[in-house]
Amino acid sequence: MAVIRNIHPLDRFLRPERLPHMWCPGCGIGIALSAFLRAVNELEEEGRIDSRKIVFVTGIGCTARASGYVRFDAAHTPHGRAIPYAMGVKLANPDLIPVVFSGDGDIVGIGGNHFIHAARRNMDMLVIMVNNMIYALTGGQVAPTTPEKIYTTTTPWGNPERPFNAVTLAWIAGANYVARWSVTHPELLKNSIKKALLMEGFRFIEVLSICPEVYGRHIGFRSPVELYTHLRKVVKIRGKIRPLETEYDWERGITLGEFVVRDEPGFVRRLMEVVKGGKA
């Protein structure tokens, strides 16, 4: 089958021969991925990054399937293990730029401990967590990010659990950069990724996404547009507020913005300093 190449400026970061992708119509993951690719493209055009140094690491889940579609050095690791894998990549070759791009279940569910410790170490990597608030690939089970009282297939009477606010978690664990955006505002997301890509230490960007097929449909949204329109009402962009003041609530609202920008030395620099300066 003939493949038409380079008809889109971002095709050089993709494997067009693998299309069509496996994401459902109306899924938000493509918007998040596109924001990332545009950020890389712009930075490269500005001469501020070499995209061949990017290592695109994912775990398991809908979002994690992105590693198969991008044309970077990449890995599709076991469930929850993208962060430690990326740690090994960075420590073995500090010239590389690991980017973890994965879902909420992968990052703060099964991989939650790795997330906390990578942030604590200020491990040099960018983590983009696409949060659809559900385990989507397996059919709609409750996630650590599912809002309270929401119907899921494993909480058919409504979710009794309190969700993580991943922003406060990343902040308290010690991340250098923490932001939350939404697929309803892709330009702000892209700018945030551009900024975070150039920083050192642990950078965390949460992207609220929509899963019309198993999150939205199960709670009564009849189309992707309906869910998308509702999410626009749920999210509230706030400037200059602290992580503890952010909200994560389907009813009261979910706060978007940039909440932590620190310039503490990343793990690679810390490690080099102690090894050079110390005695063992």
């Binding site: 690791t77 090994g88 401990n113």
Partner: protein
């Protein structure tokens, strides 16, 4: 110029030295008895050789970190014991599936579960082969001295890098706390192999396309411009997910067959008085040292005992074992579990009575204890 030096080391230190000789550049680990002192030894020493040592939050992170580091171009290793090895299970399969060179030192202690952390055991004969789900190839080597811990760790790296497989060095509690003389070597006195590099340019190179003669694909590292996809799902030669019969069958067969095809690189065993042995003992690891004493003393009394000691446990030297058992009337498998290695020996030696001597003891059994336990066949 190769130059040898002498060390007085336990098997943990010897394995660490072997790893350094082999070119180790990245180690990740999590504290566990009896593997922590290997970790501590490297933490102090490896940075002087330009390597990185990091303590991860658990063994799952350690194994995934070394897999990532390997793709970033480093020779990479971790060390653990039973409980940690069990935690690593899923990602050892990930390494096998993605054909990632890594070395895992596994110091067996008494299990199951937490068991006895400060006692020896050999409960992971089967687990070391089948630790992860699915069917795949893996190599397991078992030293019985500090010298072998050194030599076999170098060999483990050579196999891992050249065949793109995870290699387990299966040691035990007694070995890692026994200090003895070790001859430390340097290339060219000792052979150190590197992974095969791509011969095709980016765009044409396919990360899982094997060379036909050895079934091993050349390996491009991250950062070299090849846009390598490390894919845990069933994949074709490009690394693209391919849930179709012929691709799946081709992949799984090759993951197993590439070790068979390169068996000569892997298979190793030692024999002791086996030429005319009427009673053949089979044992590995520290317990083989006690069995060796049994054989030695029996020979002084004119009894024709012998010992076959597998050095590569998976795959085992099947021909060597059959040959050693040629004149035997009895084959006695001595192992510190309730019967694992014996199953393999029964499979390989089909025409002789094979007996099991299971020693569920917490310390190294003495030769007398072994003779006593095996008495009804002697």
């Amino acid at each position: 110029m190769g130059e040898a030096s002498l060390g007085f080391l336990n098997a943990n230190q010897a394995a660490a030295e072997g790893a350094i000789t082999a070119g180790l550049k990245f180690f990740a680990g999590y504290p566990i008895t009896p593997a922590s002192d290997l970790f501590e030894y490297l933490a102090k020493k490896l940075p002087k050789y330009g390597g990185v040592v990091v303590q991860s939050e658990d063994e799952i992170a350690a194994i995934n970190a070394i897999i990532g580091a390997s793709w970033a171009g480093a020779k990479a290793m971790t060390a653990t014991s039973g409980p940690g090895f069990s935690l690593m299970a899923e990602s050892i399969g990930f390494a096998a599936m993605t054909e990632t060179p890594i070395v895992i030192i596994q110091n067996m202690r008494a299990g199951p579960s937490t068991g006895v952390a400060t006692a020896t055991g050999q409960g992971e004969v089967m687990q070391s082969r089948w630790v992860s789900h699915g069917h795949y190839g893996i190599v397991v080597l078992t030293p019985f001295s500090s010298q072998e811990a050194y030599d076999l760790t170098i060999k483990a790296f050579n196999i891992a890098e050249r065949l793109r497989v995870p290699v387990v060095v299966l040691m035990d509690y007694v070995l890692v706390h026994t200090r003895e003389r070790v001859v430390l070597k340097k290339p060219p006195e000792v052979e150190v192999l590197e992974r095969k590099k791509p011969t095709k340019p980016p765009g044409e190179y396919r990360p899982y396309e094997p060379d036909p003669e050895d079934l091993v694909p050349p390996m491009a590292n991250y950062g070299e411009g090849y846009a390598v996809l490390v894919e845990s799902m069933a994949h074709d030669e490009r690394g693209y997910y391919a849930p179709v019969d012929d691709v799946y069958e081709r992949l799984v067969k090759r993951l197993v067959d590439k070790i068979e095809v390169n068996r000569h690189m892997v298979v190793e065993s030692a024999t002791y008085h086996t030429d005319d042995a009427e009673v053949l003992f089979v044992a590995f690891g520290s317990v083989a040292r006690s069995v060796m004493s049994v054989v030695k003393e029996a020979r002084m009394e004119g009894k024709k005992y012998g010992l076959f000691r597998p050095i590569s446990l998976w795959p085992m030297d099947e021909k060597g074992l059959r040959k050693a058992a040629e004149n035997a009337e009895q084959v006695i498998v001595v192992e510190m579990n309730y019967g694992q290695l014996v199953r393999e020996v029964e499979r390989i030696v089909r025409d002789k009575p094979v007996h099991l001597v299971p020693l569920l003891k917490l310390d190294l059994p003495t030769p007398e204890e072994i003779v006593e336990a095996a008495r009804r066949w002697l």
